[in-house]
C-alpha cells in the first residue's frame, strides 16, 4: 500500500502539470476579456493600454511559464518568508489578480474561513444526515420512512439551490425575521453573543447545501445497502445467530461503503471550490464567489490559481478514496 501511495503521488506531479496547462489554455481560449466590466465610456485606446499594463497581451506560453514560476517558486518563497521572517522573495512578482491588482494567494487566504465554515459545516451535516437515513431506508425498504425519505431526497435534488435559497430567505428573513439574509464576513466570534450571531447567519446557507448534499449521498447509501442486504453472506451471518445490529451495521454497512466513500471523496474538494450559487444568494463571498467573479471578469491569474489548487485536492482525495477501498475491502489490491 505504501509503495502504491508513493507511486501515485509521484505520478500525480506530471498529471497535475498537464492539467494546469490544459486549464490555462482553456481559460485563455474562452471568449471574454478582462475588459468586460469596465464601463463602455472608457475608449478603446485606453482599454488597450490597460491590457498592456496587465501583461495580458503577451503570448500564451510566456504567461503560462510565468505563472508556473510564480506558483512554484515565488509563492512558496513568500510563504517561507512569512513564517521565518527571511526575505528571499524580495522584489519578485507574485501572482496578481487582474481585477483587484492584489496577490491571488492573499485573497484565497482571506476567503478560506467563511468557505470552510459554511460549506464545510453543510457538507459534514449533509453526510451525517444522509448516512443514517440511507441505512434505515434500505433496511426498511418501502416503509413509510423510506417513502418519505425518497420523496424529500428527490425534491431536494430536483429543486435547484437558487430556488431553495430564495424560498428560505422569504420565509425566515423577510417574514419571520429569524435569520439575516446577508452573511457578514467581518463578524468575529469572541463571546456567546457573537457565536449565536454566527450560527444565525450560517443557518440558511447551511440548510440549503446540507439538503442538497444529503439528498445525493443518502440515495447512494440506500441503493448500496439494498444491494448488499440481499447477498448470501448476510443470510449466513443471520443464520449464525448474529444480532441484527451487528449484521447491518458491521457487515453490510462496511461492504456498502465503497460507492458512498467515492461520492464523499469527490465532494470534499468541492468544499474548497465553494458553492457558487448558494454563496451568491447569501453573499457569503467565499471561494466559489471568487471563482465565478474571476471567470466572469476573465481574471486569468485568479481562475488559473484557484482551479489548480482545486485540481490538486481532487487528485489527492481520489487517492485517499482508493486507499480507503483497500481498507474497506482488503481483497482490493493495487500492486
Amino acid at each position: 500500500m505504501l509503495t502504491f501511495t508513493i507511486r501515485r503521488l509521484l505520478l500525480a506531479i506530471p498529471t497535475l502539470l498537464f492539467i494546469s496547462l490544459i486549464i490555462f489554455l482553456l481559460v485563455d481560449f474562452a471568449p471574454g476579456s478582462p475588459m468586460s466590466q469596465i464601463p463602455l465610456t472608457v475608449p478603446p485606446e485606453v482599454r488597450l493600454k490597460i491590457i498592456e499594463a496587465m501583461g495580458a497581451n503577451e503570448p500564451v506560453y510566456v504567461r503560462y511559464l510565468l505563472w508556473l514560476k510564480q506558483f512554484f517558486v515565488v509563492e512558496p518563497l513568500v510563504l517561507w518568508d512569512h513564517w521565518w521572517g527571511t526575505n528571499f522573495s524580495e522584489g519578485m512578482q507574485r501572482i496578481v489578480s487582474w481585477q483587484s491588482r492584489s496577490p491571488v494567494m492573499d485573497i484565497i487566504v482571506q476567503r478560506m474561513p467563511q468557505t470552510l465554515t459554511v460549506i464545510g459545516t453543510s457538507y459534514l451535516l449533509g453526510v451525517l444526515i444522509a448516512l443514517p437515513i440511507g441505512i434505515y431506508s434500505a433496511y426498511r425498504q418501502y416503509s413509510w420512512f423510506d417513502q418519505i425519505g425518497t420523496f424529500i431526497a428527490m425534491i431536494g435534488f430536483s429543486v435547484p439551490t437558487f430556488f431553495t435559497g430564495l424560498v428560505l430567505i422569504l420565509v425566515f428573513a423577510v417574514n419571520l425575521h429569524w435569520f439575516p439574509s446577508i452573511y457578514d464576513t467581518s463578524l468575529r466570534v469572541t463571546d456567546w453573543e457573537s457565536f449565536l450571531k454566527q450560527v444565525r447567519q450560517m443557518a440558511m446557507p447551511v440548510m440549503v447545501l446540507a439538503l442538497y448534499n444529503a439528498a445525493q449521498i443518502s440515495r447512494y447509501m440506500r441503493s448500496s445497502m439494498l444491494e448488499n442486504l440481499g447477498q448470501d453472506y448476510v443470510r449466513t451471518a443471520r443464520a449464525k445467530g448474529m444480532s441484527e445490529r451487528v449484521v447491518v451495521l458491521k457487515h453490510v454497512l462496511r461492504n456498502s461503503m465503497i460507492p458512498v466513500v467515492t461520492v464523499i471523496a469527490l465532494g470534499i474538494p468541492s468544499i474548497f471550490g465553494g458553492a457558487i450559487i448558494t454563496e451568491q444568494v447569501f453573499r457569503v463571498n467565499g471561494l466559489g464567489a471568487l471563482l465565478i467573479g474571476a471567470i466572469q471578469g476573465s481574471d486569468l491569474p485568479t481562475v488559473q490559481t484557484l482551479t489548480f489548487i482545486f485540481a490538486v485536492l481532487i487528485v489527492l482525495f481520489n487517492l485517499i478514496a482508493d486507499i480507503l477501498y483497500g481498507i474497506l475491502d482488503p481483497r482490493i489490491r493495487y500492486d
Binding site: 482553456l26 481559460v27 467515492t262 482551479t307
Partner: protein, 305 residues
C-alpha cells in the same frame, strides 16, 4: 425449486415484467412518466396556443399579464401575457428530451470509463487521470469554448434547433460523467475480487463476456442512482446554459428556464414557479421509482421471492 423444471419455460423478460408489475411505486412512476410524455407531446396538438405569442396590441397585452389560472389560460400567464400551459408543454418537450438524452450520454460514458478502469489494470491509471482532469476543468469557460467551437458547425449541419439540442446534450453529458465513472470503478474493483468472478475467470471466460454477464449486472444499482440524479441535474443545467447564451433562443421556454424566470415573481405570483417546479420534481420522482422497480425486477435474487 423442483416445480420450476416442470413448468413451461418462461422468457426472462416476461419474468422481469411480472416482477416489475408487483412494484407499486414503479407502476405509479411509469404512469406518471407516461402522462408527462403524453402532456408534452400530444398536448400541444390539442392546446394549440403559440407559447411565444405576445399580443401585439399593447392594451390587451397589459390586461393579460400575470393572470391567475382561468378557463382561457388554465395555468395563467407570464409577465408578457404568454400562455403558461402552452409554455409548459413546449418547454417540457425540450426539458424531458434534454434530461433523458444528456443523462444517457453521461451514464454511458461514465459506465464505460468506470468499467474499463476498474476491470483492466493497465487502463486504470490513464482513465482515472482523465477523470481527474475533467473534474478539475472549470465548467463555465469549458462550456463557452464549446459554444465558440461547435455552435456554428453544428447549426450548419443539423439546423439551428437540432444543432443547439446536440450541443446542449453533449455539453451536459461530457461534463457530468465523472461521478458515475468513479462510483462504477470503485464497485468494479471490489467485484473483481469476489468469488463468482474469480470462478468465472478460472474457467477462462473472455473479458467481454465477463463484463457483460458478471460485472455490469452487479453495478446496476449505483448506475440507477446516478441516472435519476443525472436527469434532474441535466434539466437544471440546461436552464443555466441558456443564461450563458449557450442554450435555445431566449424566448424558447424550457422548464428550468420557466422556474428561473418565475423566481423573480415568486412573492406576487407563486404559481409561476409552482408549475415548472412540480413538473421537474415529478419527472425526477417518476424516473426514480421506475429505476427502483427495474432494479428489483432485474435482480434475480429478489425476483420470484
Amino acid at each position: 425449486m423442483t416445480d420450476l423444471a416442470l413448468e413451461k419455460p418462461r422468457s426472462q423478460w416476461a419474468d422481469v415484467w411480472s416482477q416489475f408489475k408487483t412494484h407499486k411505486g414503479a407502476l405509479v412512476g411509469l404512469v406518471v412518466f407516461a402522462s408527462l410524455i403524453f402532456f408534452v407531446s400530444i398536448g400541444p396538438l390539442i392546446w394549440t396556443k403559440d407559447p411565444t405569442f405576445i399580443n401585439p396590441d399593447a392594451a390587451t397585452m397589459i390586461k393579460t399579464r400575470n393572470k391567475p389560472p382561468s378557463l382561457e389560460f388554465p395555468l395563467g400567464t407570464d409577465q408578457l401575457g404568454r400562455d403558461m400551459l402552452a409554455r409548459m408543454m413546449k418547454g417540457g418537450q425540450v426539458s424531458i428530451a434534454v434530461g433523458l438524452v444528456a443523462m444517457t450520454i453521461s451514464i454511458l460514458l461514465g459506465t464505460l470509463v468506470g468499467v474499463m478502469a476498474g476491470y483492466f489494470k493497465r487502463l486504470d491509471g490513464p482513465l482515472m487521470r482523465l477523470t481527474d482532469l475533467f473534474l478539475a476543468l472549470p465548467l463555465l469557460p469549458l462550456l463557452l469554448v464549446m459554444v465558440l467551437l461547435f455552435r456554428d458547425p453544428l447549426a450548419a449541419a443539423f439546423g439551428p434547433e437540432g444543432g443547439t439540442f446536440l450541443l446542449i446534450v453533449s455539453a451536459i453529458g461530457v461534463t457530468s460523467w465523472m461521478q458515475a465513472a468513479r462510483v462504477v470503478r470503485g464497485e468494479v474493483l471490489a467485484l473483481k475480487e469476489r468469488e463468482f468472478v474469480l470462478a468465472a475467470r478460472s474457467i477462462g471466460t473472455p473479458s467481454r463476456r465477463m463484463i457483460l454477464r458478471h460485472i455490469l449486472p452487479n453495478v446496476v444499482s449505483p448506475i440507477m442512482v446516478a441516472a435519476t440524479l443525472g436527469i434532474a441535474n441535466a434539466i437544471i443545467t440546461e436552464s443555466a446554459l441558456s443564461f450563458l447564451g449557450l442554450g435555445f433562443p431566449p424566448d424558447f421556454p424550457t422548464w428550468g428556464r420557466l422556474l428561473f424566470d418565475g423566481a423573480e415573481y415568486i412573492q406576487n405570483y407563486p404559481q409561476r414557479v409552482f408549475w415548472p417546479g412540480v413538473a421537474i420534481s415529478l419527472t425526477v420522482l417518476s424516473v426514480n421509482y421506475i429505476g427502483d422497480g427495474l432494479r428489483d425486477a432485474l435482480d434475480p435474487r429478489i425476483r420470484g421471492r
